[in-house]
Amino acid sequence: MKIKEDKKRFHKEEFSIQSIIMSVLTAVTLVTIVIMGFLLYHRFRQTMDKTAVSDTEATVESTVERINLAFLDIRHIFNAANYNVIQEFDISSQEFSKQFSLLYEINSDKIQSIALYGKDGKLIASEPVAMEKNNADVTSQSWYCNAESDIENIQFSLPHTQNLFRDGSFRFYRVISLSRSVDINDGERPGSGVLLVDMKCSVIEDVLRQINDSSDGIYYYVCNRDGEMIYHPRQSEMSRGLFAEDSSPASGYEDGVYKMSSGGTTEQVIVGSIAYTGWKLIGVIPQNRQTTSSDDLKYYIFITIIVLLMMLLGGNRIISKKISKPIWALDESVKAYEAGGKPDIYIGGSTEIRHLGHSVQKSYEQIEELMDEIIRQQNERRKSELAVLQNQINPHFLYNTLESITWMVEAQKNDEAVLMITELAKLLRVSLSKGKTIIPIADELQHSRSYMNIQRARYKDSFKTEFQIDDGIKDYCIVKLVIQPILENAIYYGVGHMDEDDDGKIIVRGEKKGEDIYISIEDNGMGMPEDVLKNLLTDTNKVSKHGSGVGVINVHSRIRLMFGEKYGLSVESEPDEGTRVVIHIPAIPYTRENAEQLEKQPCRQWRKEDEKK
């Protein structure tokens, strides 16, 4: 229910044309720029990834080459020791020791030690000369066993801590052992033994450390075919469970570039094979690798998008303003017109808007003309209505009064007949008023007195009449013949049927309150029932059965037609108590101009113009 209301409210909300144009243009611009930025970044990222892969490939290739060279060097040293020293010289000869020592001295930067063991694992010769550890059983060490089991080839061990000699500096050395079963000349007796060349692990580790230190998020490690880790830049962390690297999938790959899933992310691995050992050098490019250049690019793209957006927003605003301003100006002038003003309709902007402005202007001019015509016609109609209402008085009243005079003459009541005729003459003078509708209150009161004198004569003074009029109101305007119908009503419905003893009385009061004049006609007759009172001023179909035939409603309508809706009659009545009718009119001084103005058009129209002025 609430959602529906919210939707309705949303639909009811109004947006200016500029907001709509601006929003649409901004949305389109934003989407376009963001898509372009994303594509640009994606393209650059792809290029960077490709570059990273090719760089890593090159690094792997060159590193494999360097390691292969290092191994080749060691093999040469090994072969030199075997073929040029051991097989050339008697192991007990001085020359053997000299050559053995010389070989070590020349290559001491690469090799940790060089040693020759007999069949039983007994040390025959070693360089540098060092004390053999008493707990080091060489025959149980892997390099010795490998040499014994495969006598034809040089065996490469995995990197391990050398366990052969005592070192005066109390240190351990990590070495890669090259071992092979060799033939020995021991005097006259040929024999065999195992030649061991311990290569310094640092020869390889330095190369790998170097490439790892200079890489930007990419790292390299070495493992054997079984996935056993040989070198990793974070090997110490791995052995403590502080870092994990699953080398087993990559160790099975041939040389090339592969994509691998690791810990929920995809990484690219570049595999290179190291000669003689079957080890694999693996370069890893993590997917989430953050490099300085990619960060820079990201920020540059963001800045470009924002600056473009700022500029386009400015452009959009200018465009939307250019389009919407004439529409807005036209709308404002139409609104001003609707509010009652008479501004010039805006005509400007593009051809379409100018055309629209012209059309609206023309429409309003036509409406103005039509309105003036309608008002003129309405005034005419009102005037004719008023005239019709006034004209209803004369025939009825004249008929009744003349009938009364006839009756008086027949009854030889000549004085009374004369009085009646005199009062009738006064009454008719006021009634005619040279055809005017607006007369001074003094004339209207004279008319009322004459009427009451005629009626009292007719009713044989069965009731009394009293006029309590402020002198100050006599020179104000009033619609003629408005008091007389009320008095007529008061007689016929109030005091007319009362006996002389009942003290029937009609009091006419007139006073000015503020800008208004109130004339009340009060009788102490039988009053009116509530339902009659209720319909008295609203039932337009009611026709008076008595008197002049002009009902109270007639008077009420005339006053309202002349002076406006807020004026007219108000009636108060209580059964058996009496009735009080109040005539409420504006206090307009009676002058020729005012009277003519009122005659010309009803007062409300006249007042409206005054207010506008």
Binding site: K133, N135, R234, S236, I303
Partner: protein, 318 residues
Amino acid sequence: MRKNKITFLVMELLLLILALFFVWKIFNQNVPEKRVAVVLPEAGDNRWDALIKGMKQSAKNNHIHLIICNTDEMESAEVEQEIIQEQRNNQIDAFLVWPASGSETEEMLKNECADVPVILVVENVYNGDEQESSTFSEIGPDYYEMGALLARELGEDASKIGIVAGREESEASTSAVRGFSDTLEQMKGEIAWCYYQEEDCNVLDEIRARAPVDHLVVLDSRTLDRIGEQADNDELKDIRIFGIGYSVKSIAMLDYGKIDGLVAPDGYEIGYKSVEEMAKKLQHRFYKTKSAKTTIKMIRRDDLFQDEDIERFLYSYE
């Protein structure tokens, strides 16, 4: 119209702020790394090799700039105070400190490092009361457990045992002696004497001056290395030597048969975890650093080249 204008200006302003933020990001990428000073006694000594290696690796991972203070022996809190004061003038963001022996060290550290984070490494500060814990976080081995391990290694046949511990006002020494004594007590071994080293003393003279023993337990790494070197001397020839050692030299002496049993803390782990913890503190100002006990290893001569764990352990020292 006015509302539109205000919306437009607000949007432009926001975008400008955003653009300036990214410009700042571009020029602010080379934020200097946080500087962490490491205060160790005789920082160049090879007993700290694994520890410093671990620290360096962790510093690399966490983008921390480590400054290993060039120090000699740190006999007292005053000497350590001087080093710390010197480093305070060197715009240091945090300290990793090996606390000097003595009960005044804790107070000194509180005063000197009131506004910079400090983590104690290798051992805790000595406060004389074993129940009362230090206010600083400590990353190091459990010395009580190391003492207990040695006692268990000696077994029930150890009859006359002499103990050479470090400084008496050292948390590490007292804990190790306590761990050793408590465990040996359950095994009905007999401690003939226990000697806490003093400044400028000759340990061998002190041993000679005391009753002969057949087992010597050395609970201080530096002293173990010294005694190990002298193991072939007459007065130590028939004594089996056990001890706590951090250095590769201690392991080599075990290998050469100069000592008979060794308990070694994992220096690499101490270094790695201490820097990692400090990095967390430096990244999040309100992070509360935590203490951690690191791995300890009982190394026997026979296992030295058989056990792959020890092989890997040795790798950290190179």
